[in-house]
């Protein structure tokens, strides 16, 4: 047991002095709050902008009926003065609606009223607003036309051969939830990124610099060596991941989430339980990286294998994105997936049964121990010394 502490202390010291690995390990967590802040404020802005459509109008006073109809549909009518074409070309406004002076007159005579919608077809960002306005005008047209038909005793349905109904599956709430999917992904990735340098350096690195053979000459059990190295890498991984988690929570508390109808609050007990549920993920990530590191022939080899490991945290995110399933308690027991739904739930403001934290922690812990023992077994092989 003493040997585990000796190896742990040495690897920890060695890792702390590796500035480059340290930088890349801790740049990742430090970027977390920036990412969260921008992600969430962008959502809030998007959400805010489609709440009220504003239409710059020339000659609004000629069509009080249309203006009132639009205003009833939460459209803000803005009196526009100046050259509409020039303003659209200069991108001062996205579009301008021009109502002719004889609007009322033509309406009374059942003549078609030409309404000009000045817009720039090359501007993709304005497309949404233009189509919103066009849809609004079309439904106004349909409404008036229907009234005219009814007045003549004709059913307006004769005019409707088909009726297309748009059903946007993504509700605003869900769009927010999708964004919230990225935050757990980032936190879980932190576990894989932060300890990676040390996990590779203490396995493939040790082989490559030919220091493994001298190390194995010491009267120490191989599994004690592996345990010491594993714990050192796990401490780095856990520190990076928990720092990311903490910074993400702090960033989320700073963003006015209530503006998008989310209320996020978290208690200290929940934070501590989260730490408990998440920490074994660090052990799991490090043990997998070490197994691959031992397997690899060189440092470079190991980095490419281990790079593939980083896809593991992405899988649960994609799965839940395309297969939204109701969370059931047993799912928390799935490694990585469990931590993912734990984060989605807690960061999404849902309460999670305490058992879920323990389920997430225990299976990851058990699997990581099994992987670490497999690494130790692998180290017993004579071929470990062959180059």
């Amino acid at each position: 047991m003493h040997a585990i502490a000796v190896v742990l202390a040495k690897e920890f010291k060695d890792g702390r002095r590796d500035r480059r690995a340290l930088m890349s390990a801790f740049l990742f967590p430090l970027l977390a709050p920036v990412l969260v802040y921008f992600l969430l404020t962008t959502i809030i802005e998007l959400r805010g902008s489609d709440e009220a459509t504003t239409i710059p109008v020339v000659g609004a006073e000629h069509a009080p009926g249309l203006v009132q109809w639009l205003q009833e549909r939460h459209v803000v009518i803005e009196e526009f003065s100046g050259d509409p074409q020039q303003a659209v070309r200069d991108q001062d406004v996205e579009l301008v609606l021009i109502i002719p002076e004889d609007y009322q007159h033509r309406l009374k005579d059942f003549e078609s009223v030409p309404l000009a919608l000045v817009q720039d077809g090359s501007r993709t960002d304005a497309r949404q607003s233009v189509s919103t306005v066009r849809d609004l005008l079309r439904s106004f047209n349909n409404e008036i036309a229907s009234l005219r038909l009814v007045a003549r005793g004709v059913s307006p349905q004769l005019m409707q051969v088909i009726a297309v109904q748009d059903q946007d599956v993504a509700s605003r709430q869900e769009r927010t939830a999708t964004a919230l999917n990225f935050i757990p992904l980032y936190i879980i990735l932190a576990a894989f990124v932060s300890g990676m340098g040390l996990a590779v350096d203490t396995t493939a690195g040790e082989r490559e610099r030919k220091s493994l053979e001298p190390l194995l000459l010491n009267p120490v059990h191989r599994h004690h060596i592996v345990l010491g190295k594993w714990l050192a890498a796990s401490i780095f991984s856990a520190f990076g991941m928990l720092l990311t988690l903490l910074l993400c929570i702090l960033a989320m508390l700073q963003v006015p989430l209530d503006e998008i109808g989310m209320d996020f609050s978290i208690t200290w007990q929940q934070v501590l339980l989260m730490f408990l549920g998440m920490a074994p993920l660090a052990l799991l990530a490090s043990s997998l990286q070490m197994l691959l590191g031992m397997f690899a022939k060189s440092f470079k080899d190991a980095q490419s294998y281990i790079g593939l490991l980083n896809f593991l945290p992405v899988l649960p995110m994609f799965y839940t994105m395309f297969n939204p399933v109701a969370t059931q308690d047993w799912m928390f027991a799935l490694p990585i997936f469990g931590q993912h739904i734990l984060l989605v739930s807690v960061l999404g403001g849902k309460t999670v049964p305490v058992i879920a934290y323990f389920l997430s922690a225990s299976t990851s812990l058990l699997i990581s121990i099994a992987v670490a023992l497999a690494t130790a077994k692998f180290m017993e092989r004579e071929s470990i010394l062959a180059n």
Partner: protein, 239 residues
């Protein structure tokens, strides 16, 4: 004392060690001499417990290496042919690390490493990180960490390979010193003059088998040649 009897080790179809027996007694320097690929390193690796033989026995101070690897390793100080160091640790930290792994007390580690640093004339580099160390400086660190636990048996795999004259001299002096202390020294080399100069006993290995054993004089007599190098070549060709 190291005793090896009828050792055999094959890697797949390649037989690295076919039949090697030798004794390295306390207070004597035993040289393992042979051309490249003769099985010297494999034999040493079996003795220091990193490879397991197919047949035969190997003991250190009467302890079976295969059965009690850790006990046996405590009694050996080894300079293997890998001389890897940790570039971010100082020379002294390397020596301490191995002392700690041997389970020595903190005071013992400090006292003994100070002594080794003096013995190997490493005062100037002891507290520098090993990144950028010369080959000789690296070798000194490896030697010091191999001897931190004051082992009764020392194994050196080609210890002077690639070293400059000054460091080679230091290594030779240390081997002489160890012999005086009654320690069993076993080292491998393919350099004839080095072996003849340092060894009390020579074991010549060719193709995984012992071709000749004895003092320099005995080997010369066996080959019927006054020049040891010629004697060696004759023995190698005879196999």
């Amino acid at each position: 004392m190291i005793e090896v009897r009828a050792l055999k080790k094959a890697f797949g179809k390649i037989v690295a060690v076919d039949d090697v027996s030798l004794i390295a007694s306390d207070g004597l320097v035993t040289g393992l001499l042979g051309p490249n690929g003769a099985g010297k390193s494999t034999t040493l690796r079996i003795i220091y417990g990193l490879l397991v033989q197919d047949t035969g026995t190997a003991t250190v101070d009467g302890i079976d290496i295969q059965a009690q690897r850790l006990e046996a390793q405590k009694r050996m100080g080894v300079l293997p042919d890998s001389h890897g160091l940790y570039s971010r640790l100082t020379a002294r930290e390397h020596i301490h690390y191995f002392g700690d792994l041997h389970g020595l007390s903190k005071d013992a580690v400090v006292a003994r490493s100070d002594e080794l640093i003096r013995l190997l004339d490493m005062q100037g580099i002891a507290d520098r990180r090993t990144e950028g160390f010369s080959l000789g400086e690296r070798m000194k660190v490896c030697l010091a960490r191999a001897m931190i636990h004051q082992p009764q048996n020392i194994l050196l795999d080609e210890p002077t390979n690639g070293l400059d004259v000054m460091t080679t001299r230091t290594v030779r002096e240390i081997i002489g010193e160890l012999k005086m202390q009654g320690i069993a020294v076993l080292f491998s080399s393919h350099l004839m003059h080095e072996v003849s100069r340092l060894c009390d006993q020579i074991v010549i290995i060719v193709d995984g088998r012992v071709a000749a054993t004895g003092t320099t004089d005995e080997i010369r007599a066996a080959a019927g040649d006054e020049n040891l190098e010629d004697a060696f070549v004759k023995l190698v060709e005879r196999v």
